[in-house]
């Protein structure tokens, strides 16, 4: 398994697409799609044939990079990163398919940014040298910001700057924590090291580790996002092009959760346990607040964005419950939410391409003219509010069951979030697909009042693959969960929690 190759070929494919667009128009999207497909096939083949046991972290590459600070180029995978990388690659294909018609200007550069961003995200999920991790963490941001700032909607610059500054400031805090960890490593062993597994062996005094944990926690909480630092998300989502929103909701938010699992919980177990009540409260507040705010939105994408905040609250609550079941629920939530929110944002993009508005007040009655779209929309909103049979249900159920053992009261409160999600999900569906078309239809469809074209074949492909996965995971969650049942990760978490 060669992750470096995957990242390089994505970058190279992006550059090629950029170049090819100048030679022949419309070639960029084909090239981009081809690159991602080939990379995904390579990746799937290499994991099925690999003989390495991935239940614990396996270091694949370890090369020295910056000698002055003993920084290495170190890549490692375990099941967690594997699942997330697969999700990333899958959503990358979805992203390219949803931008097929949408992006008409500067197409080549667009696909370059998209692929570069995906390469960076894969780097984040696999880097185990902390400097390298930080490097990828930032590198994935640059093309993402460009996607929002260049191809976004009316208020794109504001949204892009806000997105960038939130993440940048929080990640500088993380950088300080990283440097401080390296300095502590130097004090204890006489050697500077940024290698993750070296850090696991450090014996940190609790007082210091509390501060360091906070440095990491804030950076990841901003990405997740959790309530006090969430305000970039609705703006970024609303203004981003469809693929940008899909990527943001589908994978970028997961980097925050990944960071919490990989770094916060493992490097600072004791400090995390002490911090757990605060974090769980933040999670519950996010769930309820996100649901409430989603209900109040008039903008399709903003509504879905707030629902993301609500769903990621479950992840936060579950992770800080230190419980094997909750942990499985959290990981499953990552996958399920990645798929369902990606689908909802893709839906928003398709609606926008038809009526040129994201305002729910201007929608309505789409079911008559676009029944397939309506059917899928119903399925995806049902997934979002956790209908049994779909992946989100299993994920949230496991999260709540696990969390209940540690924070009963908060879990009860969090369960109200499910009711909230049903309400805003129905609001969304009713406004868009039932009733009569409201507001003046603008220019686009003058001849027929309610004429909204139904899904094209490409769009059908996007939706059916997403829905298919949601159903498969929903009916047979062990597809994902087997990886995490006996993994070292859960053992480590339960043992630290039990040792308390």
């Amino acid at each position: 398994m060669n992750i470096t190759l995957v990242m390089c070929s994505l970058l190279l494919g992006g550059a090629l697409a950029w170049y090819a667009e100048g030679v022949k128009t419309q070639s960029a999207r084909w090239l981009a799609l081809l690159t991602v497909l080939i990379v995904s096939i390579y990746f799937v083949i290499s994991i099925t044939t690999t003989g390495v046991d991935l239940s614990s972290l396996q270091v694949l590459v370890r090369l020295s990079w910056i000698d002055s600070f003993n920084i290495e180029y170190a890549i490692a995978v375990d099941y967690l990163s594997l699942v997330l990388v697969l999700l990333t690659l899958f959503l990358a294909i979805i992203c390219i398919l949803v931008s097929w018609q949408e992006i008409q200007t500067k197409t080549g550069f667009y696909y370059f940014n998209l692929l570069a961003s995906i390469a960076g995200i894969i780097g984040v999920f696999t880097a185990v040298d902390m400097f390298l991790f930080f490097f990828f963490w930032e590198v994935m941001l640059l093309p993402m910001t460009a996607l929002i700032a260049i191809w976004g909607h009316e208020n794109k610059h504001f949204a892009a700057i806000k997105f960038f500054i939130f993440t940048q400031i929080s990640s500088l805090l993380m950088l300080v924590a990283i440097i401080a960890m390296a300095a502590i490593h130097f004090q204890q062993t006489g050697l500077v090291s940024f290698f993750y597994q070296d850090w696991l062996t450090l014996d940190l005094p609790l007082s210091t580790s509390r501060y360091l944990m906070l440095g990491f926690f804030i950076a990841f909480a901003v990405k997740l996002p959790s309530v006090p630092v969430h305000s970039w998300l609705p703006d970024a989502h609303t203004q981003a092009p469809t693929a940008g929103s899909v990527l943001l909701a589908g994978v970028l938010l997961k980097t925050g959760a990944y960071g919490l699992i990989r770094f916060v919980l493992h490097l600072f177990p004791q400090a995390s346990i002490d911090f757990a009540p605060v974090a769980a409260t933040l999670g519950v507040v996010s769930i309820l607040y996100g649901a409430k705010m989603a209900f109040a939105q008039q903008d399709f994408k903003r509504l879905v964005a707030y629902s993301s905040i609500s769903h990621m609250g479950f992840v936060m609550l579950a992770l800080f419950s230190f419980n094997a079941i909750a942990y499985q629920g959290a990981v499953l939530t990552l996958v399920a939410h990645g798929l369902s929110s990606a689908a909802l944002f893709a839906l928003a993009g398709m609606v926008y391409s038809r009526i040129h508005s994201r305002d729910l007040g201007q929608m309505g009655g789409f079911w008559q003219s676009a029944p397939r779209m309506g059917g899928f929309a119903l399925a995806f909103t049902a997934a979002a509010f956790g209908l049994p049979g779909l992946a989100n249900f299993v994920a949230e159920f496991l999260s709540l069951v696990g969390a209940y053992q540690r924070f009963p009261l908060m879990t009860i409160l969090a369960a109200f979030g499910l009711i909230g999600s049903a309400i805003y999900g129905m609001v969304l569906f009713q406004n868009a697909f039932q009733g009569k078309r409201q507001g003046e239809s603008k220019g686009q469809n003058q001849e027929g009042e309610n004429n909204v074209n139904d899904l094209s074949k490409r769009e059908l492909l996007v939706f059916s693959s997403l829905l298919g996965l949601l159903i498969v995971i929903g009916l047979y969650p062990n597809l994902v969960l087997t990886f995490f049942q006996h993994s070292e990760l859960t053992l480590a978490i339960t043992s630290t929690a039990g040792g308390q």
């Binding site: 910056i66 600070f69 300080v176």
Partner: protein, 490 residues
Amino acid sequence: MTQLMMQSLSPLLIVAFGSVLSLLLIAWRRSQKMILTFTLAIFVCALLASISLVINLTDEVQVTPLMKVDNYGNFAFILILVASIAVGFLSSTWLTHSVEVHDEFFILLQLVVLGAGVLVMSDHFASLFLGFELLSIALVGMVGYSRDSQYSVESSFKYLILSASASSFMLLGIAFIYSQSGSLSFAVEAEPVYSLFYSSGILLFLVGVAFKLSLAPFHLWTPDVYQGAPTPVTLLLATVSKIAMFVVLMKFWFSQTSFFTQSFVSNNNVLSTLNLMSVLAILSMIIGNVLALKQQNIKRLLAYSSIAHMGYLLIVLLIISPQSVGLAWQSALFYLAAYVLATVSLFMVLQLTQCNHEDTEQSIGDWQGMFWQNPLLALLIIVAILSLAGIPLTAGFIGKFYLLTVAVQAQQWWLIAALIVGSGIGLFYYLRIVFTLFNDVSVEKTSSLQLPVVGAKLAPVMSISAIIFILSGIILGVYPDLLSQVFIGF
């Protein structure tokens, strides 16, 4: 003077001798092309001499009590020379516009470099003052060089008066220090008594330096002078004068071992000096960044951002153990190198876009949509701006990483907090520039506003140097060992 001394001083001697020769050359024949070539030749010779020194010099060499040649100073001089060569190139495109022959300009440029060279090598207050004055007086002439420009008189007067007052503060400070230590050399033989007199001497000295580095609250002259001076001269102010002053400040600071020896730090006077330094740093970071927010004029924006950058750099002075001195030097030099790269790139673009429409002020809007018209220049700007903002993949990030490492080791949490807040604010205006580059140029605007015709044709020299600057900005950011391993050898 032994041969070793001669050898180690050779870069400075080349520049000094060269400027005398230039005078003779002018007396013989006035030709702008000739003097430009000669100036560049001098700089390149000095650059080669410095590089060979960096390779060959293993230990520091004391040349008379006045100068001490070490590799840190040598590397700073290399940076100075690189920036000056860029200034020479840029001014050659600028000075072709009028019919006069501008020999004086190049002589002044050589004198600035000589002054900066003396500063970075100095080990004594006398040589420090000599270099300082040489630098300032030559710069005053250059700032006001374009007589017909609107702001030229204002800015050169401002610079003259403020730098004169700065040097008088500095002189008074030096006198105070001398009165207590009895020596004008930086290195103190006996540990001085930290009397009030001595501390106030250091304080006054710092005021002088802070003027030159334009640290808040001594920054007021910076934006006006940056704006009024011709673009190549602004580049000179932003790079050469700041590098030289900062390096000499470091040399002075690290010779005062009591600033980072535990037993002395408890002393009240020492402590207040250190606190003062932190306050200067924090103020500069915040004020520079906040004031840059609303600027439309690129030069003014860069002026304010340079205030912030000098504030960041001050972090390296506040170390707490003698073991950190090496790391502090490496950090400062790396940061300065990244800063010089980025600043030179930006001014290069500024000069190129200015050439096409001289009468307009250089506002950010002029760069609108450049990425789609001239990707090379736009890429140069993007790399430079991201480097200044300290985003990974660029040299500036490694510089910031160095600074944070020093700050974490010294446990200067307040400075770190200010740095984070400062860079957060900084992103606002840096990103604004980058987004402007990507903006679509709408059709109505094209007719009313005269767009810069950048990229119609770039001279091959400029294209090549743009590519070199882009690559070096990225390579140093991805593989900083190229430079940092050199520093470790010092």
